[in-house]
Amino acid sequence: MSLAYYPGCTLKTKAKNLEEPAIASMEVLGSRLEEIPRWNCCGAVYSLADDDLIHQVAPVRNLIRVKEQGKNEVVTLCSFCLNTLKRANLLMKEDAEKRGTLNSFMDEEIDYGGEVEVVHLLEVLKDQVGWEALAQKVKLPLRGLRVAPYYGCTLLRPREVAIDDVEKPTILQELLEAVGATPVDFPEFAECCGSYQIVSSPDDIPKYAWHILNSALTHGAEALVLTCPLCDYNLGQGQKELMKKHDGFDGVPLFYFTQLLALALGLGPQVCHFELNYGEPELLLREKNLLPRVEAL
C-alpha cells in the first residue's frame, strides 16, 4: 500500500528523528510513505483572520498536489502541518465564497474543493494498520518503560480538526500499549508549551516547559512521547538550565512516537537517531536493557 505523504520543512532538517523511523516502520508494516511531488511549506500557523486568504494559498497548493496524484488522503507527521492543512481543507470544503476566490486566484491549478482527507500517521496506525496487527509485529516490547503522552495543542484544537477526543484523547496511550510500554497519564497532556513564543519571548518558555515536565515526572513518567518538533524544542532545549534551577531534576528524555514505534519493531539507533533527542534517551534505553537487545536482534 502506498500513502501520499506530506513531510513539511522541519522534518527534512531538524526532525530527521521524527521522519526516518516513521518511514522505516511503515515499511515493516507493509505501507510506503510516498512524498508528494513539489510540496511547499504550509506556513506552519493557520491564519486566524477572516479577511486573509493569501495565507491559505500555501496549504491549499499542497492539497492540490495530492489530488493530482489521484489520491484522496494525505498523511502528515508534524502536528502543525496536520493542523494547518486540515483547517485549510475544511475552509475549502465548507466556504463556497472563499473557495471560489482561491480557485480563481490559483488559475494555473486544477480546481479544488476539499476532496483530499488530511490524516496524521497516528490515525493511520489506529484505523488502517490496527493496534492488534501492530502488536503482532512487535519484536522488542518496550516493557517497563513508563512514558507520558504529551499531545500539545495542534493535534487536538480546534475541535473540528482534532484527531481524537479533545478532553480525553487516548490515541498515544493506545500506541504505547501496542508497543508494550506503560502509558502514564498527567493533567498537562494538552497544555501549550509556548509554541512560537520561543522566537519572541524565549525567556518565558522554561516556565511553561517546567510546568509540563515536572507534572509528568511527578505522575511517575520516565520519559515523554510527542509528535511535534516545536514541542520537542521547547520542552528540550531548556532542560540544562532547568537542572541548575530545580534541585533533583536530572532532565527527562523526549521521544517522538515514531521512534518508540520503530524501536519496538526492532529498528535500531541507525534508524531512530536518538542522538538528536533531548534528555539523553539512550541512557534510559540502556538502563531498561532495550538498546543492547535491539542491537542484538
Binding site: C41, L48, R157, C192, Y196, S200
Partner: protein
C-alpha cells in the same frame, strides 16, 4: 487604569475592524473569565484574555495596544475550545495583532533573532513566529 468610554470609542474604526477581521461577535462574550483561567500564557500577560475582549468592545484601543497580551498569546486555542459561548478569542487576538502589523509596524524582525538562535530553532518556529509577529 482610567479610561474614557464614549460613543466615539464604542463606534470606533478599531471596534469595526476587530469585528471584521476576527469574524467574531464581540457581544457574545459574557465575561465569565474561563478563558483567562484556561490560558497557559496568562502568567506572562499584563492584561488577562477576558479583559482584552471587554476593552476591545468598548473601543479602548490604546489600552489594548499598549499591553503585551496579544503578543504573548500562543494561539494554543485553549480558550477557544472551552468557551461556553462558542466565542473564538484566538481570532480576536489575531485581529488585534494584525491591526498593528498591517501598519507596517513589526513586533519582531528577522534581524532580532540571533544567528545562533536562527540555527538552533526548528524551521516551523521561525516560520510561525515571523508569520505571527511581522507584516
Amino acid at each position: 487604569m482610567s479610561a474614557t468610554i464614549s460613543s466615539k470609542t464604542l463606534g470606533s474604526e478599531f471596534v469595526r475592524k476587530v469585528k471584521e477581521i476576527s469574524g467574531q461577535n464581540l457581544h457574545l462574550c459574557y465575561q465569565c473569565g474561563l478563558c483567562s483561567g484556561n490560558c497557559p500564557m496568562v502568567s506572562s500577560m499584563d492584561l488577562p484574555p477576558r479583559q482584552v475582549i471587554e476593552l476591545a468592545r468598548l473601543g479602548l484601543e490604546e489600552e489594548i495596544t499598549s499591553s503585551r497580551t496579544v503578543w504573548t498569546c500562543a494561539s494554543c486555542l485553549a480558550c477557544t475550545v472551552n468557551c461556553p459561548r462558542g466565542f473564538d478569542l484566538s481570532k480576536v487576538m489575531e485581529a488585534i495583532r494584525l491591526l498593528t502589523l498591517r501598519k507596517n509596524v513589526d513586533h519582531l524582525r528577522p534581524e532580532d533573532i540571533s544567528p545562533q538562535e536562527r540555527c538552533a530553532l526548528p524551521q516551523l518556529a521561525m516560520v510561525g513566529g515571523l508569520r505571527k509577529f511581522s507584516g
